[in-house]
Amino acid sequence: MKLVIDRVSKQYQNRIAVDRVSATLQKGVYGLLGANGAGKTTLMRMLCGILKPTGGTITFDGIDVSEEAYRAVLGYLPQDFGYYPEFSALDFLLYLAALKGIPKAQAKRRARELLALVSLQEAEKKKIKTFSGGMKQRLGIAQALLNDPKLLILDEPTAGLDPKERVRFRDFIQTLGKDSIVLLSTHIVSDIEHIADEILMMKAGQLIYRGNWAHEKGDLEEFYLQQFEEEGTHE
């Protein structure tokens, strides 16, 4: 199980959003840290086949990101997502399950299992428009897991979760990381400091740091802030 990101770039007319990022990821949880605008979401969108890189390649076990077989093992939770009006939680999951190619009977069973997993089983028939932010986020996590993905990309997954939900989420992600590649992005350091096996830090579209973060090495938060202080002094 290997995700190979090879010199991936995304260039727009007047700026470079992602600048020659390279990384090889294997089973485990990876934290993608960076301020807003550092290029995290752009990179994640490219990893999900939503944006096409202007340079470089992305492959999972040799399969290119543009192929169906890549999407078949992918689970994605975007930063923001909507829903068709009148959809209940179960409707939403069944709709996406069909798009993921899962047959109906299996989809129903899987959807119910996942709703239970994210503690939404009571809300199965409730309309999503009645959901709180945290509930919607949990539903988003559920849909990402419908096809038991080997590659899970989560963009700001803890936004909108209350502290208790956050803790449950951390434990949950750690379990997933045991047999999948999980990449989650955030700008909140404490979220991933304890659950990520490795941390990737982005600034201005570049990957500026990659490594394990053992406590002996000092406070991650401090290092992180330092990076942004530097940026301040250059201005």
Binding site: G49, K52, E68, R71, F81, G82, Y84, Y95, D179
Partner: protein
Amino acid sequence: MRREVREELKRVFEPPKPQGKRAFLRALAQPRISILRFALTQLGYIRRWSWAVSVMIFAGSVAASVWSPSRLLGIVSAFAPLLALTVVTESGRSESYEMAELETATRFSLRSVLLARLGLLGLANLVMFFLLLPVVVWRQELGVLRAGLYILLPYLLTAFAGLWVLRRFRGREAVYCCVGVAACISFLAAMLFETVPQLYQPDMVSWWFAGVLALGVGTVRQCTGIVRDSLAA
């Protein structure tokens, strides 16, 4: 057989827990549902409203053919843009409800969703067209070609303009804009029929033909464009 006994039978034959199940299921490239079955599920998600509009248009046209046959063509020309509108708005739903990203990252992807919606509704509209055409031909005593052209032009104009708007301006506002466009074309079609009958004379047919051809090509290009847009930008 009693329930407890059946339950107990299940336990009697219970083997030790399998250990390789998840790994095996993940390693196996699981087949997906067929494209046909996928299209069928998408059919179920097309709003009732879109079908209702088609039914109402058909009913309205039939009613008009009975009660004001001289105006039938004007009425059908005014209805045609509304029919085209259903295709356009259905296609725009993924963007307007912010489902597009989620849909793109799936096996079938947004592309298949759009193709299914455009295809299914386009087909339904084609059926409507072939149902209404003979009614118009008969009641207005027009040739098949002329009747066809007079109905197709407002339809294609709406489809072309609507899809163009959707592609340029994403989101909910774009859809509202399309509704506006369709309403205008509908009104225009009705007005022209009443006030400029010269347009509907046989000597003007070549203009209509050119128009339908140009808009037909334009609409097809917008369709392929919108599908192409759904692929990674």
